[in-house]
Amino acid sequence: MLILTCPCCGVTAEETEFHGGGEAHITRFGPGSSEDDFHGYLFEKVNPKGVHFERWRHNNGCGKWFHAARCTVTLEVFGTYSAQTTEPPQDIKDKISAKRPGWSWREFA
């Protein structure tokens, strides 16, 4: 069972208070983009075995969206951070590097 801390309201709770929103940091392609870009945006998931970045919503709490860095094998949560960003903050990346040296996820490492 996941224990997450909402960075918006500061509440720490277990997973039934939240709702997973899938992969984070996806570049959105719309009309005018190439078919490959649009297909990649819609369907090609990272689906990693290990470090993963996700969108979550505190839907039984403050209702706001945020991001979480998590391990899909051990369910360890490395940290949560604001959704108003295009890449994980450095302190989260440092925490992951300390526990999972050599990790990479899409263009981040």
Binding site: E15, N47, T74
Partner: protein, 414 residues
């Protein structure tokens, strides 16, 4: 291979069962094979079996990182049915169900196929309309199903409560020739038949890399050395994304944990399978007497083979209203398997961007029932480059917008 028969049982009974041989060999890997299948679960072994049986390709290795049938093959709730809405799915699952009918005889291995019937309960008006539509579609597809009344449901399942306040039973989609089979035996039976054809089943052999040359596969790197091959079939369910990453492409797949649980064994009380999709639970009684209950998938990607606790409560809470007698049952075991879910909830049986690499994945929450059909079609695809059964399940359907939208048909786990 010595055949199993009533005579063999009698013969062995007279000589203290000293004459039984190992069901399959455990050879060391050779340097090269015509075909390597990654994953010795039901689908991988079925693929190898039909490669040999239908196409005479027997220089085949099946590599397995753990033990044979130890993944989702040994973790599912063993339900077999083919009452799907879309034509490509109905064709695939009905082929599979029909192969199950005679699989014990084909393999000379008792897989305990039990066509005990499956009811999918309609508990909302929406479901009533949906299942009537499916019954009509099935009639056109040649799949025998019918929409039955609540009274008929009660006759078939006496322990059911039709008048639940939240989830009344308004009818059901009944497939009489659907049922269950012994999941381990399916894997073991295929493994024994493959081994008998001279194929190598290599357990505890984890693939760590896929070698390519000029866009073509040349072999795999494993913890037991490099093995070369002409064609490679990836049949690894939850780990499909992981293997595709090694081969250098991405899949429209997300891996989540799906869980099941069984109760303590009780006397026979329900001789069919009941699925209640609105409340997201399904139940059957095993030959040992345990009530086998399928639960829900986790709401986030993971590889834990465990499943979130609160789903147990959700599933059991809902089933208790429909089956009041199970409120007194103790649950014995709970486990999870990693299922590979695609955007349209339909599988992928396809060539890939790497020449010579084929992938069979995306069966999501309903792969066991498809085991022989999937092997049949995928073997044809690997041997001939195309298969009528697999045509619609290509990887390119996502780009081309040709979804096989079964999430609408089944709604939940299937």
């Amino acid at each position: 291979m010595k055949r199993y028969s009533a005579f063999a049982v009698a013969r062995e009974a007279l000589r203290n069962h000293m004459g039984w041989e190992r069901a399959w060999a455990s050879p060391e890997p050779k340097k090269k094979y015509d075909v390597i299948i990654i994953g010795a679960g039901g689908h991988g072994l079925a693929t190898a079996y039909y490669l040999g049986k239908n196409f005479g390709i027997t220089n085949v290795a099946v590599l397995e990182k753990g033990w044979l049938g130890g993944g989702n093959t040994g973790r599912n709730t063993t339900i077999i049915r083919s009452n799907y809405l879309q034509d490509p799915s109905a064709a695939m699952y009905e082929k599979s169900r029909s192969l199950y009918e005679t699989l014990s005889q084909d393999l000379n291995y008792n897989i305990m196929y039990s066509p005990r019937g499956v009811i999918m309960l309609a508990q909302t008006e929406h479901e009533v309309r949906g299942y009537k539509r499916t019954a009509h579609a099935n009639a056109l597809q040649g799949v025998t199903t019918e929409f039955i009344s609540p009274q008929r449901v009660k006759e078939i399942v006496p322990i059911i409560n039709l008048d639940g306040p939240r989830y009344p039973v308004l009818g059901g989609l009944w497939q009489a020739r659907a049922g269950t089979a012994r999941h381990d035996a399916v894997a073991w039976g295929f493994a024994r038949a493959c081994s008998d054809m001279g194929m190598d089943i290599i357990q505890k052999c984890e693939v760590t890399g896929i070698s390519r040359e000029g866009g073509r596969v040349t072999g795999v790197t494993t913890n037991r050395g490099d093995i070369a091959c002409d064609k490679l079939g990836i049949v690894v369910a939850g780990h499909s994304g992981h293997l595709a990453d090694m081969a250098g492409f991405r899949l429209p797949i997300e891996s989540v944990s799906l869980q099941a649980l069984v109760s303590e064994p009780i006397k026979p009380c329900m001789d069919c399978v009941v699925m209640a999709n609105t409340v997201h639970g399904y139940m059957s009684q095993s030959d040992k007497g345990e009530m086998v209950i399928g639960g829900g998938t986790d709401g986030y990607n993971n590889y834990t083979q465990r499943g979130a606790f609160h789903h147990i409560e959700e599933t059991v809470r809902a089933l208790v209203e429909t089956f009041p007698m199970i409120s007194r049952l103790k649950m014995l075991r709970q486990w999870g398997g990693i299922v590979d879910v695609t955007g349209d909830r339909s599988p992928i049986l396809s060539k890939t961007p790497v020449e010579g690499v084929f992938i069979n994945c995306g069966w999501g929450t309903g792969g066991f029932k498809a085991t022989p059909g999937s092997g049949w079609g995928f073997a044809e695809l690997m041997a001939k480059g195309h298969s009528p059964l697999c045509n619609e399940f290509g990887l390119n359907r996502f780009k081309e917008g040709r979804f096989i939208d079964e999430s609408v048909a089944a709604g939940v786990a299937h």
